[in-house]
Symmetry: C2
Subunit: 111 residues, 2 copies
DNA sequence: TGAACATATGAGCAGATGCTCATGTATTGC
DNA sequence: GCAATACATGAGCATCTGCTCATATGTTCA
């Protein structure tokens, strides 16, 4: 019986941490949509207002706001008011790292 | 007019490369599902057969096979036959890197 | 060849997703 | 206050996803 009581290591620890798995999938999910990825990529180089993002993403202003809300709820972007405008930026550089890594690997797949 | 002809740099280059964006979102999409993430995580420590993966993922054998097919089509896992068994492994360590990074960042969100 | 085990695949369905349209709320300046 | 601009939100809809069930295909061994 004691055999099952050994401390969790490696895979066991990984599989046991449901919250970590779920959290990771949530982040990846946020990065898995074309529009969201465009938005995040655009925010990599500078913070931007919704109107500015509209000039980049070929979807309605509504769609962009909806996606920004999702990104904000998941903690990937930060927001602040500036007059009439709502300025969005990346919440931390974890996100930038993931975008870079993703693009790199995507590029290498093609070669 | 020549103004619009300047070489693409930074954001412009990023936004222009639709294939790169699409490719990246496909990779992230593969990592965005709980079952798939479990499978990939399990393959991080060792290659495994479908039956072995069944002991880890609480879904049907069919579901696992379907997900493995998707992961294989997207180039995230490799497969080989070994007798009756089908052995799966991570296709390259890009995947392992992303999983690690994702888990790390998920962990930090909680703190 | 036929039974047993291992894996793959197709159908079908419930729930999730991403978009647009319409409309609501903020903020500024006249 | 009122119009104009900027952004957010709710509803509704077409499409996509991930699962299970049933069944087909592969492989081994007697």
């Amino acid at each position: 019986m004691g055999d099952k009581e050994r401390p969790l290591t490696g895979l066991d620890a990984f599989l046991a941490d449901e919250d970590a798995i779920y959290g990771a999938t949530q982040i990846f999910d946020a990065l898995s949509d074309y529009t969201r990825f465009q938005i995040l990529g655009a925010l990599m180089t500078a913070e931007r207002s919704v109107t500015e993002l509209q000039e980049i993403c070929p979807v309605s202003q509504s769609a962009i706001s909806h996606q920004l809300r999702l990104l904000r709820d998941r903690g990937l972007v930060a927001q602040r008011r500036e007059g009439q405008r709502s300025i969005y930026s990346l919440a931390d550089d974890h996100v930038a790292t993931l975008i870079s890594v993703g693009l790199e690997h995507a590029g290498e797949e093609l070669s």
